[in-house]
Amino acid sequence: MTLLSLHGIRKSFGAVDVLHGVDLSVAAGEVVGLVGDNGAGKSTLMKTITGIYRADTGSIEFDGKDILALDPGQRRQLGIEMIYQDLSLAKQQDVASNIFLGREPTKRLFGLLPGFVDKSEMDRQAAKMIERLGAHLPSINRSVGSFSGGQQQTVAIARALTFNPKLVIMDEPTAALAVREVQSVLDLIRRLKSEGIAVILISHRLNDVLSVTDRIVVLRHGRADADLVTARTNMNEVVSRIVGGGDIAAAAAHEQRG
């Protein structure tokens, strides 16, 4: 069942055309790798899915609904979450504030005045979510900026998973992590898949992409240049599609060394 389908997505910033008509579809519970050289338009494409950017032309359907006109908040409500490369955390706020930012549960003050944020409920659920991820944080009442990179990543992941998403987009989730932490992110992706949650994984680490995805889409010069089934492809083919033919052997050798 198709969960997300993009057709002919175009996006330009002033005179710079970034996306030239991208087609992409993701099924429920499918893990799709999105790879491409720097500047191929991967992050821009993802931000048109989350609504941070509005596509110039094209259509985006999610769960059978046209979502092109919806803002990021509305798209999150439908179940699209993204873990950003820079994590997009409010660093002076604490763990629960970040996880629930924009979706804070409210209660009535003294049973009368509505609209007050239920901080104790937020803290409780945040602690539960962090525990479910098997992570350990010094204190959930500390500002997120005082945590290590891996701990901040945990908060960003917890934020993406707390509201039962249908699609989670991860932009270079392993780029800044230690080896052990990388494994736990890959395990997490497999777990999401087993729970029927679709994942789009953007990564330069092709070994990770090959080990965890069902399909690999190669973005090149603002187009979806190739759509490969992971089980029937290999490192060489992916690399040659990314660099666009030419000196394939050298590029593949470089990738395997690096």
Binding site: P72, Q74, A90, Q92, Q93, L101, G102, E104
Partner: protein, 330 residues
């Protein structure tokens, strides 16, 4: 590493608890107490109920402006037009009441509406025209002051109706009306900033605009509301001041933005947004009030008071940035 396993010292723990639970920087409370003690020692008139009410009364106008400054700076913005908008609002109210002769309630509405409109224009320009807040509100500082002088033809408007004067000079239960209005405003503002979604989104916005946008907060819309709110609060300050001095003075509020922003920064508002509390700002405003009151009791010329406020602003930002640098090194 040793530094990770050692418990933080008592002072550090109390500091953290104070910030997390009460949203107050402990240092500002210490400064307020030390300053008050010094004044009490230096002047026999300082420690008395009437002088305490005097300080609160003198703080009420600045305090309302400081609440506005806290919201704007906490959201990562800046409003330099607070003092001028306050002056414009006072003149607008006096013009409606005296020159037009409309009922007092319209004068009250005119004050707050004039401020809100000025703030709304600030917000529109910041979010739609992409002019930096510093420039927009600096421009508004000139625009609002000029308009106040145009409306009043450069002269104070006298002869306000008694209902308006009561707002400034009335004393139900012996407490000056401006103090009552100021304290109520502060309580509501504190609740909004610390405990509502609007307040949390305000701080998140000042912390990281990208994070707020990714979380689905309508960033530009939120900024416009905050600038409008800031203007409306400046309008309220204008009403309090005009009613207290019983005149719509077009030069009211000159340099008040300096004191208001200083009060907010002393209270622990991060100059670059993301951290702010009304309770802290109230302590900052009281520090400014005690400082001015004490210097007056000690018969220090007001020119030196102006210098003291400027010096305190720079010192407060220095200490804040020093602490931020120290924390980020750990």
């Amino acid at each position: 590493m040793a530094s990770e396993t050692t418990q933080p010292g008592f002072w550090a723990r109390v500091q953290r608890a104070s910030v997390e639970r009460l949203h107050i920087r402990l240092e500002s409370l210490v400064v307020l107490l030390a300053l008050s003690t010094a004044m009490a020692v230096l002047s026999p008139y300082f420690l008395s109920l009437s002088n305490f009410l005097n300080i609160l009364l003198a703080t009420s106008t600045i305090g309302v402006l400081a609440i506005a400054a806290t919201f704007v700076i906490g959201s990562g913005g800046l409003d330099l037009s607070l003092g001028s908008v306050m002056g414009l609002a006072g003149v607008a109210g006096a013009y409606v009441a005296v020159n037009l002769g409309w009922p007092s309630v319209f004068a009250v509405i005119a004050c707050i509406l004039a401020g809100a409109i000025a703030g709304y224009i600030n917000g529109q320009l910041v979010t739609r025209a992409f002019v930096p807040a510093f420039i927009v509100t600096l421009g508004m500082l000139g625009l609002a002051r000029g308009l106040a002088l145009v409306i009043s033809q450069g002269r104070a408007i006298y002869g306000l109706p008694p209902e308006i004067v009561y707002i400034g000079q009335g004393r139900p239960l012996g407490i000056p009306m401006p103090v009552i209005i100021f304290v109520l405003t502060a309580i509501v503002a504190h609740a909004v900033l610390a405990y509502t979604r609007f307040g949390r989104h305000t701080l998140a916005l000042g912390d990281s605009e990208g994070a707020a946008r990714a979380a689905g907060i309508r960033v530009e819309h939120h900024r416009r509301i905050i600038y409008t709110l800031s203007g409306a609060l400046a309008g309220l300050a204008g009403l309090l001041f005009t009613a207290r001095v019983n005149a719509g003075d077009p030069t009211a509020g000159i340099n008040y933005e300096l004191t208001a922003i200083t009060a907010a920064i002393i209270g622990g508002t991060n100059l670059f947004g993301g951290r702010a509390s009304i309770l802290g700002t109230m302590i900052g405003a009281l520090i400014m009030g005690v400082l001015q009151n004490g210097l007056t009791l000690l018969a220090v010329q007001s020119y030196y008071q102006q210098m003291a406020i400027g010096a305190v602003l720079i010192l407060a930002v220095f200490i804040d940035q020093y602490q931020v640098r120290k924390e980020s090194r750990v």
